[in-house]
Symmetry: C2
C-alpha cells in the first residue's frame, strides 16, 4: 500500500441537478469541449428528484470549470455551483478495499484520531481516496503513512 | 479499455450523518466488525451540516449492512438508511479519466443515448464506475461495449 497526496487540485460541485438521463453527459461534454479533465468524479444517491455532481480538477482549470458549471446550472435549472481550492486529495493505493473491510475502517479511524474531517470519499476495489481541507492535509498524510507503512 | 459489470451488488446509503470527524470511522468500523466489505464508497459534498455516505456491498451482506447502518443512524442521530438491491455496477477499466476529458463525456453520452439514468458515479485516474438500475444494466453494458471496443 502507498499513501499518495495531491494538493494541486480543487473541488467543484454542481448542486441540485435534475436526476434524469443526459444531465451528466451534457455537463461533462461541456467540460471536455473546454479541455477540462476531471480527476475524480463523485455522485452519490439522489435526494428528492435532484442530485449533486462533484469533481476535482487541477487548480489551473478551476476558473474554466466554474464558468462551464455556471452555464450548465442556468441551462439545467440546477441550484448552483460550489467550489473549494483549499483541499488536499489523499489516496491509499493498492489497498484491497473490496476484500478487507478493515482497510476503510482503519483509514477513517486514523483521520478521526487526528481530528481531520473527511470532505469527500471515493473508493474502488483497490484504491480509496479522501478529500480533506488543505490545512489538515500534511498531518493527515503523515498519520496515514505511519498507519499503512 | 474494458467494460466490466456486476449485478451481484446492492447499494446502501446512510442519509444525513453529521459532517464531523469520526463519523465515517465509526460506521465503517461497525461494518468491519461484522465482516461486511464495501466495494465502492461514495461521499460527495455536504449540504448544511450533514452529508450522505453511500456504498455498495455484495447482495449476501445487504441484510447485515442495513442492520449495522440502522444502529449507526440511531447512535449518530442521522436521518435514515436507504437501500436498493435492483442495481447494476458498470466500470470502464483502464480509461485515462484524469488525462482525457472525452472519456467521461462519452461514457455518460452513451448511457444518455440509451435513456439510462445514472444513479451513482465514482471515478479515479484510470477507472470510472456508474451505478444504474438493474433493468437498464444489460442494455447499458452492450452500448458501452460498442462505444469502447
Ligand atoms: C444526475 C445525473 O447523473 C443523471 N442521473 C444522469 O443520468 O445524467
Ligand atoms: C461525513 C463523514 O465523512 C465525516 N465528515 C467524517 O469525517 O467522518
Amino acid at each position: 500500500m502507498k499513501v499518495v497526496s495531491d494538493s494541486e487540485v480543487a473541488k467543484v460541485a454542481v448542486l441540485g441537478v435534475p436526476d434524469t438521463p443526459g444531465i451528466a453527459a451534457s455537463l461533462f461534454s461541456a467540460l471536455a469541449d473546454r479541455g477540462v479533465a476531471a480527476e475524480m468524479i463523485v455522485q452519490s444517491v439522489m435526494r428528492g428528484q435532484v442530485n449533486d455532481i462533484a469533481f476535482l480538477v487541477c487548480k489551473e482549470h478551476l476558473g474554466e470549470a466554474i464558468d462551464v458549471c455556471r452555464r450548465a446550472v442556468r441551462q439545467m435549472g440546477a441550484q448552483g455551483v460550489a467550489f473549494d481550492a483549499e483541499i488536499g486529495k489523499i489516496t491509499l493505493e493498492g489497498a484491497d478495499v473490496a476484500g478487507d473491510p478493515g482497510i476503510p475502517a482503519r483509514m477513517f479511524s486514523v483521520l478521526a484520531g487526528e481530528s481531520v474531517n473527511i470532505d469527500m470519499i471515493s473508493s474502488t476495489e483497490m484504491n480509496i481516496t479522501c478529500v480533506v481541507s488543505l490545512i489538515d492535509s500534511v498531518r493527515a498524510v503523515k498519520a496515514l503513512e505511519r498507519a499503512f507503512p
